[in-house]
Amino acid sequence: MAKKKKVNLTIDGIKLAVPEGTTVMHAAEKLGIHIPRLCYHPDLSLAGSCRVCIVDVKGMGYFMASCSVNVWEGMEVQTNSPEIRQARRDIVELLVDNHPMDCQTCERDGNCELQNLAYSLGVRERLWEGRRKRFPLEDSSHSVVRNAEKCILCGRCVRVCAEIQGVYNLSQHGRGFTTVVAPAHGAAMDDSVCIQCGQCINVCPTAAFLEKSSTEDVWKALADPNKHVVVQTAPSIRAAIGEGFGLSPGTPMTGKMVAALRVLGFDAVFDTDFGADLTIVEEAHEFLSRLQGHEPLPMITSCSPGWISFMEKFYPELIPHASTCKSPMSMLSVLAKTYYAQKKGLDPSQIYVVAVMPCVAKKYESRRPEHFMADGVPYTDAVLTTRELIWMIKCYGITIATLPDGQFDDPLGTASGAGDIFGTTGGVMEATLRAASELVTGRPADRLEFTEVRAVEGLRETYVAIGDQNIHVGVANGLQNAKILLDKVVSGQEKFHVIEVMACPGGCIGGGGQPYPPEGVKVLDPGLLRKRASALYAIDSDKALRKSYENPAIDELYDTFLGGPGSETAHQLLHTHYHAKTPRGIR
């Protein structure tokens, strides 16, 4: 790429030169000046609507939004003056005046961007106790709760839903005082094309979007002496939960997390990674069967419920390509109420299964009828997000950092490193390749690491040699990226053998239920995602057991309960099918 021309300017009296096309906001950052901002997000398009990032540019006669003004030669910028600070404070004061005054009881208390901004800009009183917007709470969905009264119309959710996820479910409706962010026609989230990924929650600066909380249900179950409460934790929880306690992103927390769950009172702590290993064994068999021409290729992974929902609404013609394997969470929940119940001599109705997931769509997955037992009770009773678990640990008063490491419980607690990497984009693919390679060639794989499918970027396509076959693989995270691969499949432009799709940026590690990042770090930040991913890769490479096939607990399960991969029992318990859903999305 040609080197960009440098532009000379002064910011707050300091001379600097930055490449042509740099915004004033980014130029100021080079001087260590973080101009306050609200609607701006580095991974989304510019909105320039909040005006919090205004600066004074000499000769302009009005304050300019620094996020959307590029530098020019000889520009003189003032980022601070009594007038600018006053103007910024006025803007935030007006936002706060039209916002519920319930910070102490709000779920975002302490990590709310509006609250932080109001504090740092010196908003110390509410001047205008006038009319306020009133909208009902919208909680029709199993995953996402929309509270339009807390919305400040920054439009980040609208942009993430469209630009990152390609769903375009949200839009600003109406104008002026009654403007509201909602699905088309103000429909309930449940009646919209929402795929429940929860990225709107992640990017929301306030509590206008939140997950539907399950903590009360879980506390209640834990306090019930007649319930045997078991918990499973997804791979990406251990890579992110530390952030909720001030530890740096990418701190592996497996042992401490297990220990904290025991203190909370769970009767058994299982590892969703075990479910992941099982998924891999089943999926590798399915892949082999597809490779032999029994079902259509490419096979597309189906672990991500946001992706499944997207497929059902936007790409129903690809349903035959989705792996019929249930997700690791759903497989493990099924086994908890069958295999584990049998071993323990418990009635399934006594067992209460809690799943801790980085994902809000898992809440929705757990309520899909295909994941219900015959008596209409879901296999997974409650799904907690990483954020909800962090809160429960804090609520209980556990100092997690000082706990001695705990161990997952048998028989659903032993997992290979292949299960751990499920939490990051490319991980399911790599785990599948480790297994499929052996299954196809009949001899141990000559390598364990398929680094060509790693990286948090949105899209990868490559060929992997398995035996004498050259397998064409595709990996996508973020559904706008996935569309690019899926369109190629639909048009027949490219013949893939296997595609991994994870709905969220970076995979589960960037899920809609992950901790809000510390101040100054944005949710979709690739650096943050990379740190979380590297924690999982480190856990994998530190394990002696790295292939799902070699997991002795899986062997035992097949020997004593399921009767072999792809068996009738396995199909009955571990596989499912998907169906086109309405409203139909426009892709």
């Binding site: 839009s171 409706h173 909602a182 088309a184 026609h185 369109d487 139909r584």
Partner: protein, 240 residues
């Protein structure tokens, strides 16, 4: 990229049922204006006379026609306005307002079913279509009554008691400004000076001007139009 989805036949059939052949042909023409030359399916380039005049919009040029007129027939010119990796969508979005004008001219308002059909046919997300339709004052999202009542709330009328007249209308009809009575006969609107300040307070029902109205007269005025409506049969959206 393919122009259609696997349910295209169904989309077209629904659109024709909801919007009618005429509007669907109009949308096809709008799409044709931004179509790429390499398109092989021929959709968009086909169909009918270039512009159907609007019968329902009196005294003004066809807004939909005006909105699409002057758009480049050659593709590419619009593509520079495109954002974030979906250029064809932005091209189609550029036709949205013209299409909404056309639909409103046909039906008098934009129903959810109309908006959904437009979204599917133009392949612009429904949230976007609904967002645009709800933003502009010109677009109406509910049917209009047979008679539109415009109460002047300009300064002169206001000081002469237009607010009391308006309140009486609201009480009698049980609706607020911008709404339509349950029987579909009246829509109540506020106007900002009708240019007849000498007759203040003034209200218009359809094209009829009612000067120096007092709250007491409101029931009589309404009854006149109600009986007119009864004589003519059930009220239909006028499109005006």
């Amino acid at each position: 990229m393919s122009t259609t989805t696997d349910n295209w036949t169904e989309v077209e059939a629904t659109a024709k049922r909801v919007l009618g052949e005429k509007v669907v042909a109009f949308i096809d023409r709008c799409r044709g204006r931004v179509a790429r030359p390499e398109r092989s399916d021929g959709r968009g380039e086909s169909g009918g006379d270039p512009a159907t005049p609007f019968s329902a919009v009196r005294g003004s040029p066809d807004p939909a026609q005006a909105a699409t007129e002057g758009l480049p027939d050659a593709p590419g010119d619009l593509r520079s306005t495109v954002s974030a990796g979906s250029e064809t969508r932005a091209e189609r979005e550029s036709q949205l307002i013209a299409v909404l004008h056309k639909v409103q001219a046909e039906f008098g308002y934009l129903a959810e079913a109309h908006l959904d059909a437009v979204a599917q046919l133009l392949r612009v997300p429904a949230a976007k279509v609904a967002g645009v339709a709800s933003f502009y004052h010109y677009f109406r999202l509910s049917p209009r009554g047979k008679f539109v009542i415009n109460v002047c709330l300009g300064t002169a009328c206001y000081v002469k008691g237009a607010d009391r007249v308006a309140q009486k209308l609201m009480d009698e009809l049980g609706i607020a400004f911008g709404e339509t009575s349950a029987d579909g006969v009246f829509t109540l609107e506020a106007a900002r000076c009708l240019g007849t300040c000498g007759l203040a307070p003034v209200l218009m029902v359809g094209d009829d001007v009612h000067p120096q109205v007092t709250p007491d007269q409101v029931p009589l005025i309404l009854e006149k139009y109600l009986s007119k409506s009864r004589q003519e049969g059930a009220g239909q959206g006028s499109g005006g």
